[in-house]
């Protein structure tokens, strides 16, 4: 319990630091909203114009997109700094974090805390539009709502685990920004769309080596299309937890190899 308390304490401090530059904070929140809004608009225009994508209707595709918006937003809220971990390695910024009497990860994730309000608003809007349409058309029931929450939770955990594992590679290679472009950016862009549009090798990659396919696509098959079966939700959750535990022990191993700025 006290860790949660400390998390909020540190995250609050980080938020207050940003509030020192109020104009900037508000402006950047608005611009981020605009930025993601434009991306959402582009994609929806394409899918709308062609009436869906590979057998997925506009609303089904929109649902996938919304799930990924939530996942990305929560990932950034919980662990924004994991995405920018390179500077901690290269500039030795991890030193100070290691001097605190608590898990390093806990201190790290509270740094530069950002509420990601823009993405959450967009995600909620898209999600409500898509789900209400699907429920109205009897393609889904209200049951889809708790299921979606579960999908978002497991998706966030999977993304977090992959992000953490990628960051950990940096303890050996020092440079990770570029690797993160593939595992973080490319893979999460890929999971915004139904996996069936990709060629086989990519589908297999996204379900094994880089299991981002489980963040949105696999569980959504059950939630909004009634395929697979209920089992996919607990299975995904199980996978997520296993991945996170794996990533955490990899992280612990990585910490032993931290070189600071030593030459």
């Amino acid at each position: 319990m006290s860790w949660i308390h400390i998390y909020f304490r540190l995250a609050g401090a980080s938020l207050r630091s940003q509030m020192q530059y109020k104009f900037n904070f508000i402006l950047s929140t608005l611009l981020v909203f605009l930025m993601f809004g434009l991306e959402l608009m582009t994609v929806s225009i394409i899918i709308y114009k062609f009436n869906g994508i590979k057998g997925w209707s506009v609303y089904e595709a929109g649902y996938l997109f919304a799930i990924m918006m939530f996942v990305r937003a929560f990932y950034r809220i919980i662990a924004g700094e994991i995405n920018g971990f390179e500077k901690y390695l290269v500039q030795g910024m991890l030193d100070q974090l290691l001097l605190r009497p608590m898990p390093v990860l806990l201190v790290l994730v509270t740094r530069n805390f950002r509420p990601m309000a823009g993405e959450l608003v967009l995600g909620t809007t898209t999600m409500s539009i898509c789900l209400s349409y699907l429920i109205e058309n009897k393609q889904a029931t209200l049951w889809a709502i708790p299921c979606s929450l579960a999908v978002i939770v497991s998706g966030t955990i999977i993304t977090l685990a992959i992000g953490l594992a990628t960051a950990t590679v940096g303890f050996w290679t020092h440079r990770i920004d570029e690797l993160q472009r593939i595992t973080d950016n490319a893979a999460s862009i890929a999971s915004q769309y139904p996996l069936s549009i990709y060629p086989k090798w990519m589908r297999i990659t996204l379900l094994t080596v880089l299991p981002m396919g489980f963040t949105s696509y696999m569980p959504s098959l059950y939630v909004i299309r009634g395929e697979l079966g209920l089992w996919i939700l607990p299975a995904t959750m199980l996978l997520a937890v296993a991945l996170l535990l794996g990533a955490l022990s990899f992280w612990k191993l990585g910490l032993r190899h931290y070189q600071s700025t030593g030459t």
């Binding site: 304490r9 030193d95 605190r100 898990p103 600071s260 030459t263």
Partner: protein, 325 residues
């Protein structure tokens, strides 16, 4: 209290390939260059000691300190602090440590100073009453009253160092590790920091390990000195013995009123000091004050003409290292 047993730290750096397709080759190659930053260092520090840890740049000072506080894992060897390993029981050990890196701050840059202390208190789970007392004492000793409402980024370097010192002492650790705490400070601020450190050691009985480039820090604070070069400890003992070993190498620049007559070199050749340079009216000599006194040098020099000005230079650190060998 602090035991370092046969510490080694080797950094492994990939070799960057040259020439054609070098990028691909660097990416694929498994070749590494090993750099030994710390080589078989052992020492024990008991409670209440004030130890200076000195050596030239890149000698391995910071690497040692980082191993002592658990940031780095030694390649081989062991660290024990109050019976615990900072690597295996990191969270437990760092509670007993106060660490200050002179080049970095542990405070919250954009927030008022007071907030940093509040946050630290909850990080270290300090009792409210204990925190109040401790902060009260530190505020008074380190004169932080007026700084409490100011965002850390607006503090001067000297003020920030005082605040950082307070932050590292807030949870009342037994041991202080200070990496270059006086770097970049002006003379007055340096003296202030030294006075505080002296007080921490003598009145509060804190064990202190300090790295520095400033020989004055060592002279005025440390009862014991460990000298390190190329990753290996080359001296460990009290300051007096070290002084006896290296003497007090001094460089003197003596300026005459008129140009020096050409025969001066022969005249000075049989002296207890060496001429290392001569430029117009200025003669530069090196001597060791263990063998000769400054007065003696001046006496002899005055035979060459009327002395107008004298300038004494601080001994250079690299020179001192050479003398220990």
């Amino acid at each position: 209290m602090i035991i370092a047993h046969r510490l080694n730290k080797t950094f492994r750096l990939p070799i960057v390939m040259e020439g054609r397709f070098s990028a691909v080759r660097t990416l694929l190659s498994r070749e590494y260059r090993d750099v030994e930053a710390v080589n078989d260092i052992s020492f024990e520090i008991s409670k209440g000691e004030f130890v200076g840890y000195i050596g030239p740049n890149g000698a391995g000072k910071s690497t040692t300190i980082k191993m002592l506080c658990g940031i780095l894992h030694p390649t081989s060897g062991e660290v024990t602090i109050n019976g615990c390993s900072p690597q295996k029981q990191r969270q437990q050990v760092v509670r007993q440590l106060g660490v200050v890196f002179g080049q970095r701050t542990q405070l919250w840059w954009d927030l008022p100073l007071k907030d940093s202390f509040d946050i630290l208190a909850s990080l270290y789970k300090l009792e409210q009453q204990f925190f109040k007392n401790q902060l009260g004492v530190l505020t008074e000793i380190l004169q932080l009253q007026e700084l409490m409402g100011i965002p850390v980024r607006k503090l001067s370097l000297g003020q920030r160092m005082r605040a950082d010192l307070a932050a590292s002492l807030l949870h009342d650790p037994d041991i202080l590790f200070l990496d270059e705490p006086t770097i970049g400070l002006d003379v007055a601020a340096k003296k202030q920091i030294r006075d505080y450190l002296k007080q921490m050691n003598s009145q509060w009985n804190k064990t202190i390990l300090l790295t520095t480039h400033d020989m004055d820090d060592i002279e005025q604070l440390c009862s014991r000195v460990i000298v390190i070069n190329h990753g290996a400890a080359i001296y460990d003992g009290d300051l007096e013995t070290l002084r006896g070993r290296i003497g007090l190498p001094t460089v003197m620049k003596i300026k005459f009123r008129e140009a020096v007559s050409p025969g001066y070199e022969d005249f000075l050749s049989a002296s207890t000091f060496q001429v290392i340079g001569c430029q117009d009216r200025v003669i530069t000599v090196a001597c060791n004050r263990k063998e000769t006194t400054a007065m003696e040098v001046l006496n002899r020099m005055s035979k060459l003409g009327t002395i107008e000005d004298i300038h004494l230079e601080e001994p250079n650190f690299e020179d001192i290292i050479h003398r220990i060998y």
